[in-house]
């Protein structure tokens, strides 16, 4: 059987497509729905808008096992951090009080792969704001 150039190209494209579908259907990874659900549960059904909330993270994290992250949202009652590409999206939720000097916190987190970090802040008046930031990961954490 001779394979023409057109057929060869078609096969290659098909193969790549199949591979991508396989990768995205990997069951162990958190889906967009899980993230959405977590946000809704956290805000009590309020759809978060934009606002004064920032995530500080390295652009490229060489080691996904420990990635330094800081988050700040002046006027927030609590802030939730989510990692959309981890097996379970929840990372941590910080709660502030009258004695908190500033509504910000720093920690170190695990990232399974290159992904978006999402922060949602629940403000003192009940509204919610969100932001996200993409972090490239060279070697993933959450080891297998």
């Amino acid at each position: 059987m001779t394979v023409t150039r057109r057929e060869a190209l078609g096969l290659a494209v098909g193969g790549v497509a199949a591979l991508t579908t396989l990768r995205f259907s990997a069951p162990a990874l958190a889906t967009g729905n899980a993230v959405e659900e977590a946000i809704m549960k956290f805000t009590g059904g309020v759809k978060p808008g934009e606002g004064d909330i920032t995530i500080g993270a390295p652009e490229i994290a060489e080691n996904g096992n420990t990635v330094p992250i800081d988050v700040s949202a002046p006027g927030a009652a609590s802030i939730m951090l989510l990692a959309a590409g981890n097996p379970s999206p929840g990372v941590a939720t910080f709660h502030f009080s009258a004695l908190s000097g500033a509504q910000e916190a720093k920690t170190r987190i695990r990232l399974a792969k290159t992904q978006d970090i999402i922060a949602v802040a629940k403000m003192q008046d009940g509204s919610a704001i969100t932001t996200k930031r993409s972090v490239k990961v060279t070697i993933g954490g959450c080891g297998g």
Binding site: V91, F94, L99, G101, T107, R108, C142, G143
Partner: protein
């Protein structure tokens, strides 16, 4: 199991209502419940610090609900306003129910 050792960095002195940075670290493997034992192929059960809280003279200051995505030896840094002299109390709660705690005094001059 390795001994769990909490460590915190709190300034000894502060001026009234000064905002100070508090750094905390606790040695803990934070087993995510996703890893498999390489020899037996069985999943290593989850064992993490799931809650951290700080209080000042009994008043809550800062609390965190922690999930498996936080790195081993969880490090947490936050800001605190110091209204008066007193003690900051830190508590870490493990999945197995044990609580590790530590107290540090701050003097307001």
């Amino acid at each position: 199991m390795a001994k769990v050792k909490p460590r915190v960095k709190v300034p000894k002195k502060a001026s009234p209502n000064e905002v100070v940075t508090i750094k905390t670290l606790i040695s803990h493997p934070m087993e995510s419940g996703q890893r498999k034992d390489k020899k037996t192929g069985e999943i290593i059960p989850r064992k993490i610090i799931n809650k951290f809280s700080a209080s000042f003279n009994g008043e809550p200051v800062f609390m965190a609900d922690i999930e498996p995505s936080v790195s081993a030896n969880p490090y947490i840094e936050f800001q605190m306003r110091v209204p008066e002299s007193g003690a900051v109390r830190f508590e870490w709660t493990d999945d197995d129910g044990s609580v590790y705690d530590l107290e540090k005094k701050i003097k307001v001059a």
